[in-house]
C-alpha cells in the first residue's frame, strides 16, 4: 500500500506583505481542495504579522528532511503545482545517483583473486607437500 512520504506542509507567510499575494490567494481558494485531495498530508497555515522573512512553503518528510520553497511573487496555480510536486516526492536528497543498482553480495562464486585459476599446489599448505 502506498505511504505518502510527505508528512506536513507549512505555509509561512505574512498577511500584509505584497509578495505573499499568491500565498494568500492559495489559502483562500485552493488550500481546502488541496487538503481534501491529499488526506495524509497535514497542511499548516501560519501567518506571521508585520514585516518578516519571505513567504515560504516548508515540506517535512518522514525521513526527517525539511525542504523550503520560496513562494514570493508566485501565482496561486504555481503554488498548487509546487505543493503537488512536493507531495509526490520522497524525502531523499536530490543528488546525482552514481549507479542505478546496488548489491550487498556482488559475488556468489567468490570474487576473483590472482590465485583462483592457478593450480591448487600454490595455495594448499600441508605436511604432505614437504619434499621426501
Amino acid at each position: 500500500r502506498y505511504v505518502r512520504q510527505l508528512q506536513r506542509l507549512q505555509l509561512l507567510f505574512s498577511p500584509t506583505a505584497a509578495d505573499a499575494r499568491g500565498a494568500r490567494q492559495f489559502v483562500e481558494e485552493e488550500a481546502q481542495d488541496f487538503a481534501r485531495q491529499h488526506p495524509d498530508v497535514v497542511l499548516y497555515v501560519s501567518p506571521h504579522s508585520g514585516p518578516g522573512p519571505a513567504p515560504v512553503l516548508r515540506a517535512e518528510y518522514l525521513n526527517g528532511t525539511v525542504r523550503d520553497e520560496l513562494i514570493a511573487s508566485k501565482t496561486s496555480e504555481e503554488i498548487v503545482q509546487l505543493a503537488t510536486k512536493l507531495a509526490n516526492q520522497s524525502g531523499l536528497d536530490i543528488v546525482r545517483i552514481r549507479k542505478p543498482f546496488h548489491t550487498d553480495n556482488p559475488s556468489v562464486q567468490g570474487q576473483w583473486h590472482p590465485l583462483t585459476n592457478k593450480p591448487s599446489i600454490l595455495t594448499v599448505q600441508g605436511p604432505r607437500l614437504q619434499p621426501q
Binding site: P106, S107, V108, Q109, G110, Q111, W112, T116, N117
Partner: protein, 149 residues
C-alpha cells in the same frame, strides 16, 4: 501622474552579489590554485569544466568498452583463449552477452566465466572440424543454431 520608467539619474544596485558569486564558486571548490577562490579565474575554469564533462560523456562509453575488453582478454587468456576467438565463438554459439556483463562475470563469478571459456573453446574445435574435416562427420553439437520464431 503615471510614470512608466524611472528617472535617468536613478540607478539600481545589486544586493545579492555574494550569492551570485557563490553559485559559481561552489563548483570550483575542489580546483587547484587561485581558481578555487577568485571569481574571475573561477568563471573560466568552471565553464571549461562543464564543457569538458559534457563532451566526455561520449568518450566515457568508448573508455569503458575498452576497459571491459581488456578485462575479458585477461580473463580468457587465463583459460587459454585469445579475446577474438572467445568473443567470436560465443557469438556463434548464440550466447548474446555483452562485454559489460562478461567483464562482471570474469570478476565476480570466475567459475561461470571458466565454463563460458570452455564453451567457446569447444565451439572453436567444432568449427575447425567442420572447416577442415569436409563432410562425412556429423555436425558438432554446440554448432547447432536455435531459431526463435
Amino acid at each position: 501622474m503615471v510614470v512608466l520608467s524611472a528617472a535617468r539619474w536613478l540607478r539600481s544596485r545589486l544586493s545579492d552579489r555574494f550569492w551570485r558569486v557563490q553559485e559559481v564558486l561552489k563548483y570550483a571548490r575542489h580546483f587547484r590554485g587561485r581558481k578555487n577562490r577568485c571569481y574571475k579565474l573561477a568563471v573560466r575554469s568552471v565553464r571549461r569544466a562543464f564543457v569538458k564533462s559534457t563532451k566526455a560523456r561520449r568518450e566515457k562509453k568508448r573508455f569503458l568498452r575498452a576497459l571491459w575488453i581488456t578485462r575479458i582478454e585477461a580473463a580468457s587468456l587465463e583459460h587459454g583463449l585469445k579475446y577474438p576467438a572467445f568473443i567470436s565463438n560465443l557469438v556463434k554459439s548464440q550466447v548474446e552477452l555483452n562485454r559489460k556483463v562478461l567483464a562482471d562475470l570474469a570478476i565476480y563469478e570466475p567459475k561461470t566465466f571458466k565454463s563460458l571459456a570452455a564453451l567457446a573453446q569447444r565451439r572453436r574445435q567444432e568449427g575447425f572440424l567442420a572447416a577442415l574435416g569436409d563432410g562425412k562427420e556429423p555436425e558438432g553439437i554446440f554448432s547447432r543454431i536455435v531459431h526463435h520464431h
